[in-house]
């Protein structure tokens, strides 16, 4: 499949590496070209220096005909807006946004945008980790 990733940080670059290893095609958009260095010089992907909410930059990344779009920039609002553009203008079937704020993640999920909330996931995992220590139960 052909996947576009917006945001070449730890998450974006890590996903790109994994997808390429699995044999998929990848394009990455980031406003800072230095961030592409996370993937090294010979990484087989299309790199676009630009904005995730700019339609022209999305087109340059090949969004027309992409199978999936992942918005993983460091801005919640940028991610929610760009995922909506991918879904509604370019009809990408699978558009996902990373949203740190659990409240916005919940609100926009209910409006039909697929949001992944690392804050919520971390909270649950940390709670599990604490519970698994076998500490005394509530109520003394």
């Amino acid at each position: 499949m052909y996947v576009i990733i917006a945001g070449c940080g730890r998450v974006g670059s890590g996903m790109a590496r994994q997808l390429v290893a699995e044999g998929h095609e990848v394009a990455i958009i980031d406003e800072n070209p230095d961030s592409f260095e996370l993937l090294g010089d010979d990484f087989p992907a299309r790199f676009v220096t630009g904005q995730a909410i700019e339609w022209d930059d999305l087109r340059k990344a090949g969004i027309e005909g992409a199978d999936a779009f992942v918005a993983a920039t460091d801005g919640d609002n940028t991610n929610i807006v760009s995922a909506q553009i991918a879904q509604r203008e370019f009809e990408v079937k699978c558009a996902v946004a990373r949203v740190f704020d659990p409240y916005r993640a919940e609100l926009f999920s209910s409006a039909g945008i697929r949001c992944v909330c690392p804050t919520q996931d971390a909270k649950l995992l940390l709670l599990d980790a604490v519970r698994s220590c076998g500490l005394p139960q509530a109520g003394r």
Binding site: I53, E54, G75, D76, T78, D101, Y103, R104, A111
Partner: protein, 236 residues
């Protein structure tokens, strides 16, 4: 009316001042502490420090009872999100958004944020209006009311030159409202004659520009004209 304004830059501040002066109740949300401190002596309890894209900050501002929200920060993605949330979560009756980069206008349109203001686009329209030769200028767009105001040149070969208003038949959804001649506007009364080098002002439903250009400027290709006049001329 109670208005929540997000962003206390020049636009937000002056909007707040005007609305207060007109007797309305306002609250302005600003996230930059320096700007907040600077404006606090003037705005006092009308100013709130916080990120206006956070749900709890908007609730603290009282968005649930707002009659209107103005999303006028310097970030278009923030203005989009504020507008969407205001409608979706609290059902705010009226939302107005500022478009900073005209290239993002399409995103506001796509997501149904229909009352937008873009200073750059307005400025371009005004400049074109002042240029000695302009064939077609979109002057004003009220998307929520589904109407646009455009200006068209009447060339020598225009089929309407030397014709009276009453003899001109325009398609449904287009209304010729005024003639501009020598810098003055004449209301388009039925007996008025259109002369070469006049400009006409038309009200129309959005999407009828092409049809209108075809009728008024038959020798021009609508695509060329739109390319010269739309916000596409602005690139960074």
């Amino acid at each position: 009316m109670f208005v929540v304004i997000v962003g206390a830059g020049k636009v937000g501040l002056n909007t707040a001042r005007s609305l207060t002066h007109m007797g309305h109740e306002v609250i302005v949300i600003e996230q930059r502490r320096m700007r907040y401190n600077l404006l606090l002596p003037e705005l006092e309890e009308k100013l709130l420090l916080g990120d206006g894209t956070e749900i709890w900050v908007l609730e603290k501002a009282g968005i649930a009872r707002a009659d209107m929200v103005a999303a006028v920060t310097g970030d278009d993605e923030d203005n989009v999100i504020i507008s969407e949330m205001a409608k979706m979560k609290w059902g705010v009756p009226k939302v107005v958004a500022r478009v900073n980069n005209p290239r993002n206008q399409a995103t506001f349109d796509l997501l149904g944020i229909d009352a937008t203001v873009c200073a750059a686009t307005l400025l371009i329209s005004m400049i074109q209006h002042e240029l000695p030769v302009h064939k077609f200028v979109p002057l004003l767009s009220l998307k929520s009311a589904n109407v646009e105001l455009v200006e068209l040149e009447v060339s020598d070969e225009s089929p309407f030159a030397q014709r009276q208003i009453q003899d001109i038949h325009l398609p449904d959804g287009v209304l010729l409202t005024a003639i501009l001649r020598d810098g003055r506007a004449l209301l388009a009364r039925s007996g008025e004659t259109i002369l070469p080098n006049d400009y006409v002002l038309c009200l129309l439903e959005p999407g009828r520009e092409k049809e209108l250009i075809h009728i008024f400027l038959p020798s021009e290709r609508p695509e060329d004209i739109r390319a010269q006049t739309s916000t596409d001329v602005i690139t960074e």
